[in-house]
Amino acid sequence: MLIHIVINGEKRKIHCGPDDMLMEVLRDAGYKSVKCGCDTTNCGLCTVWLDDKPVLSCSVPAMRCNNRNVTTLEGVQEEAALIGSLLVDEGADQCGFCSPGLIMNIIAMKRELKDPTEEEILHYLAGNLCRCTGYMSQLRAVKKYMGVEE
């Protein structure tokens, strides 16, 4: 089946199966920042934006994305590099595996919330699991990026 998707501003025609999820289709199309980390729909690593909303691409049927806009980490390189360097400065990049999904959600948060409290940040990022670095250093970097550090 053929779908038309705008990925990172670029119009693409992509063949996919009726049971393919967006995550697999994006990887096959070369967007390798999108990964599956848990296989149980909760780790946040596969986060992309569908029409500017952060979603778990592992549970969005690719067919549903016909004629819609998808943004992956490859499409927000400038902001991603900035957040990446803030994470590095705080030592929050032990393995970096969860970073693509985390960064996509951090940027989505920046666009949705203004001057969030720590509680609001933790709530927004609760669906991004990290299993090695730890959340405190990430939180310091996120606060700097959001411009709300103490």
Binding site: M1, P18, D19, M21, T40, T41, N42, G44, T47, L50, K53, P54, V55, L56, C58, S59, V60, P61, M63, R64, N66, G101, N105, A108, H123, Y124, L125, A126, G127, N128
Partner: protein, 274 residues
């Protein structure tokens, strides 16, 4: 993962129903968050995204949520934050993460009647009805007891009322499944109690509610905080006898029962404003 041989995006509920019932293994796909964890073999996956069921509307005497409305919309809707003590918005806010809640839908969870649902328990203590395409309008309480049928859930409607409500849950970790949850509402002095994640489907506890309605009227006349705790303890005992709890890998039945009694007490304190 589920498998599907074909994918349909109907433009109306009528068309969706026609496709759904054309073959036994045709199936509605909603948020897919739960569906993808199983291995269901679907012939035609029916997607309701283009039917126009993504809405939260105020009809004057009720608030309606379309089947394809996401949990994130429920969470951030000012209509739902301002009505029913905001319990529907608060109840879904603890589920996994924002990316997950942008995907999962009202219809997917209500139709599926998941035992672990954070959403169904508060809906049970409100005046909620479920609008099915074929079976028509059903009270949620009745719908909860029905077996799965080949039908399409179109929308969920919650009647407005001067209600004060509380939603309480207990999780081992934030964003995890609830171990047990409880909702309490008071409308014109009458209580309703529902318990979910027992781990079975949410149920109402009419005897507990009846006791609270009688006892708390006495309490209000005396305004003695000790009496409130005593009433809550007695209501907890009735709840334990009335509601069946079960064991699974998350918690044992006796543990759920103990926690539910604490949640009931907290809910009573919240609803009574003390």
């Amino acid at each position: 993962m589920f498998t599907a041989k074909d994918y349909a995006m109907p433009q109306s509920v009528e068309e969706a129903y026609e496709i759904l019932t054309a073959r036994k293994t045709n199936y509605i796909v909603a948020g897919c968050a739960w569906l993808r964890m199983g291995s269901r073999r679907i012939n035609t996956a029916v997607d309701l995204s283009e039917v126009g069921l993504d809405f939260i509307n105020d009809t004057g005497d009720a608030i309606e949520m379309g089947a394809m409305t996401s949990y994130r919309s429920v969470e951030t809707s000012s209509l739902l934050q301002e009505n029913f003590s905001g319990i529907l918005s608060r109840a879904v806010a603890s589920i996994i993460g924002i990316q997950f809640r942008n995907v999962v839908t009202v219809g997917g969870s209500v139709y599926s009647r998941f035992g672990f649902s954070d959403f169904l328990t508060p809906l049970m203590v409100l005046d909620t009805s479920v609008h099915m395409y074929k079976d028509g309008v059903l009270p949620l309480e009745e719908f909860m007891k029905m077996p799965y049928t080949k039908d399409i859930l179109v929308k969920v409607s919650v009647k407005k009322a001067p209600v004060i409500a509380s939603y309480q849950m207990f999780r081992n970790a934030e964003a995890d499944f609830p171990i047990v949850n409880l909702a309490l509402s008071k409308t014109d002095g009458r209580f309703k109690v529902a318990v979910g994640a027992r781990p079975g489907r949410a149920v109402l506890a009419p005897e507990t509610a009846g006791y609270l309605t009688r006892a708390l009227e006495d309490f209000r006349n005396q305004k003695d905080p000790k009496a409130l705790d005593e009433n809550a303890a007695q209501a907890g005992k009735i709840l334990g006898d009335e509601v069946g709890f079960g064991s699974n890998m998350r918690a044992a039945a006796w543990y759920r029962e103990k926690i539910a009694k604490v949640l009931l007490k907290r809910a009573i304190r919240e609803v009574e404003g003390c």
